[in-house]
């Protein structure tokens, strides 16, 4: 049961993030929502690589009495998470800089007022 808690947290994070994106009006909060979804997905990936009593997947730093691949945490999900974090930083930076420009043009951060493109 205790090992399922991360998965519940993952679902919770993604749902909270989606809620923020859908129903919050402040642009910054929407971006926070996107980041929450991203954290949820990253947590999910990391949790998939978990092994009970596993050690860090450093080949040269293996302690005595530990089997080579079997007792290590999976390194692939960590690599995936890292890649996703890097991409997340780029997306976050781009979104925030667009928000700066949006604020300059519209003088508001309310997403429901920034809708010149409609119909």
């Amino acid at each position: 049961m205790i090992y399922n808690i991360p998965y519940l947290v993952v679902v919770g994070l993604i749902l909270i993030g989606l809620f923020a994106v859908m129903f919050k009006r402040n642009l910054i909060k929407i971006v926070i929502g996107v980041t929450l979804i991203e954290s949820g997905v990253n947590l999910f990936l990391i949790t998939l690589g978990f092994r009970k009593d596993g050690v860090a997947p450093i080949f040269t730093g293996l302690p005595e009495g530990v089997n080579y691949p079997a007792d290590m945490a999976l390194p692939v999900p960590q690599a995936l998470t890292l890649t996703s974090i890097v991409i997340g930083v780029a997306v976050l930076a781009l979104m925030l800089s667009m928000i700066i420009h949006l604020y300059r043009h519209h003088n508001t951060l309310d997403v429901s007022k920034i809708r010149r493109l409609k119909e």
Binding site: L45, L48, L80, I87
Partner: protein
């Protein structure tokens, strides 16, 4: 091994790497001379095209080609990052590189008064690399990475005219949609990875069991990629961002949208190909859900066609109008896939026991029509967006209400617009008709209503563009100031697209047998895709 063989062997990696290298070199080259950037970007994309043509010849004669990064032999198929290029990838890559080439030619004069042009070309080349990576990769996580590269660079390009409030708004909408879609794609990838410990599409496809989690992953992948491809009712970002981007960027966006559509195809036909294109009796239990999803796709596609054309009919902003027409065109493509998914039948013997599952022949026809239409959509909509770009460049007017009598000044543009109009509305003898004919006839056999809606959509599309033609090109000469001839580079760019449209319109059969059918077969032939990786296809 001759030098040409070496080139072909490394072509899959080079086709993605050359635009990537060019993207960063443009900044350095741009310091030399004002025009050096665009010349360099053009050279880069031409070199990519050369390698692509070599690879095209090879793939169409010798079959699937794989490329493994870092090491020549495929020792650890699960860990190694690899590219897998089949006829469908080539088909998509040809569309993307041609559109980007045209966009670069078009931008020669169109973008000349802008500052920060080196960043423009960097982003355009990154967009190209991302799209080509998406269509070439054989690894689902890499697909996500390239999807994000495409999304980020195109969002930045949509907001390129940062001093315009609408452009930034469109860019923000695009990056929001793109980020959420890509994150859900990553979530689905994690679901698959957690079950099968693999990221390679071929390995995953071989081992997928269609469990509960697999179904969730399938739905998430399908819906997120369909959103990025602009399926109704998730199409709303599309008119917003298409209409506010600079014209060369819009062409790139058309290609990027189609790359997402390619993702949908890859998910259905390769990743879940064992379930969807399999005719094993063991799949009987999955038949209800697959057929029902097909019907749902058909429903959304029909709504997309109708809503796209009906909304286009009342638009006054020219580029926004064309973007709504693009929504309808995307509906046609999804109609092809949906019909294929729903066109499965179970043969039952007199005792009521199922004996066989088969895909009805019109299903494959509908798929061919959809894939043919992919090409036509890219070129027809691309041509119309270029015409809109020329009109905006010459008159600085967006609204059709303020345009009139342009045919008096811009004869070449008028002719290209008529070609684009006829092609997009599916008027014979241009290419749009050939693909739509395939779709009409095949969907009619599934349900007559589908065919009828498709035809009605085409007729309304014609009405939409006749309105544009009447309003912008005919009538008295209202715009007296500022109207001059269209620059030659723009005529060349439009001419390339128009020439392709006419040639394919005249020889639809040649194109169908030499490009569309191999691409469709590559999608349908699920086992050859997986075997190319699993049984040492190098």
């Amino acid at each position: 091994m001759s030098i040409l063989d070496t080139f072909v062997a490394h072509a899959p990696a080079l086709i993605v790497a050359i635009p990537l290298l060019g993207a960063f070199l443009v900044q350095l080259v741009g310091r030399l001379h004002e025009k050096a950037k665009v010349v360099f970007a053009l050279l880069t994309i031409l070199l990519t095209n050369c390698f692509l043509y070599l690879l095209t010849y090879d793939v169409f004669t010798n079959g699937i080609r794989t490329y493994i990064f870092g090491n020549a032999d495929l020792t650890l198929p699960v860990v190694r990052i690899l590219f897998e290029v089949d006829a469908m990838s080539i088909y998509m890559a040809l569309i993307s590189t041609t559109l980007i080439l045209v966009a670069f030619i078009f931008s020669w004069v169109y973008m000349k008064d802008n500052t920060g042009l080196d960043k423009f070309y960097t982003l355009m080349l990154l967009l190209t690399a991302g799209m080509l990576g998406m269509v070439f990769t054989g690894d689902i996580f890499n697909f996500f990475v390239f999807l994000e590269i495409t999304g980020i660079s195109s969002a930045a390009l949509v907001a390129f005219w940062v001093h315009k409030a609408e452009a930034v708004e469109a860019g923000f909408k695009y990056i929001l949609i793109s980020a959420i879609g890509a994150l859900f794609v990553l979530f689905a990838i994690a679901l698959l990875y957690g079950q099968y410990d693999a990221l390679n599409i071929a390995v995953l496809a071989q081992s997928i069991q269609f469990t509960f989690l697999d179904k969730i992953a399938l739905v998430i992948l399908l819906v997120s990629l369909a959103m990025k491809a602009g399926l109704f009712p998730m199409h709303m970002w599309l008119p917003d961002s298409y209409s506010r981007a600079p014209a060369p960027v819009t062409i790139g966006l058309v290609a990027a949208t189609l790359a997402s559509f390619y993702g949908v195809l890859r998910v259905i036909f390769s990743l879940y190909g064992g379930i969807y294109s399999g005719t094993d009796l063991a799949l009987l239990s999955t038949l209800t859900s697959t057929k029902f999803m097909g019907s749902l796709l058909i429903g959304l596609a029909l709504l997309a066609i109708l809503v796209g054309v009906i909304m286009a009919l009342r638009q006054t902003d020219l580029k926004r109008l064309i973007a709504f027409a693009a929504v309808a065109e995307i509906g046609y493509m999804f109609l092809g896939i949906g019909t294929w998914m729903a066109a499965k039948t179970v043969h039952v013997d007199p005792d009521g026991i199922a004996t066989a599952i088969s895909i009805l022949p019109y299903g494959n026809l509908a798929l061919q029509g959809g894939i043919f239409h992919l090409f036509n959509d890219a070129f027809d909509i691309g041509l119309l967006f270029l015409v809109a770009g020329v009109i905006f460049f010459v008159t600085k007017e967006r609204s059709l209400d303020n345009l009139s009598g342009l045919a008096r000044h811009m004869k070449a543009t008028t002719i290209f617009f008529i070609i684009g109009l006829c092609a997009v509305a599916g008027l014979p003898p241009l290419n749009g008709f050939a693909s739509k004919l395939l779709l009409y006839e095949s969907t009619f056999q599934l349900n007559p209503i589908l065919g009828i809606v498709a035809i009605v959509g085409s007729i309304l599309l014609l009405a939409v563009f006749v309105k544009v033609f009447y309003a912008a090109f005919m009538g008295p000469d209202l715009i007296k100031t500022n109207v001059h001839k269209e620059p030659r580079s723009m005529i060349i760019a439009m001419g390339i697209l128009a020439a392709v449209i006419i040639i394919i319109g005249l020889f639809p059969d040649l194109f169908l047998t030499h490009f569309v059918e191999p691409a469709t077969d590559a999608l349908l032939n699920f086992s050859s895709y997986t075997n190319a990786v699993l049984i040492g296809g190098v």
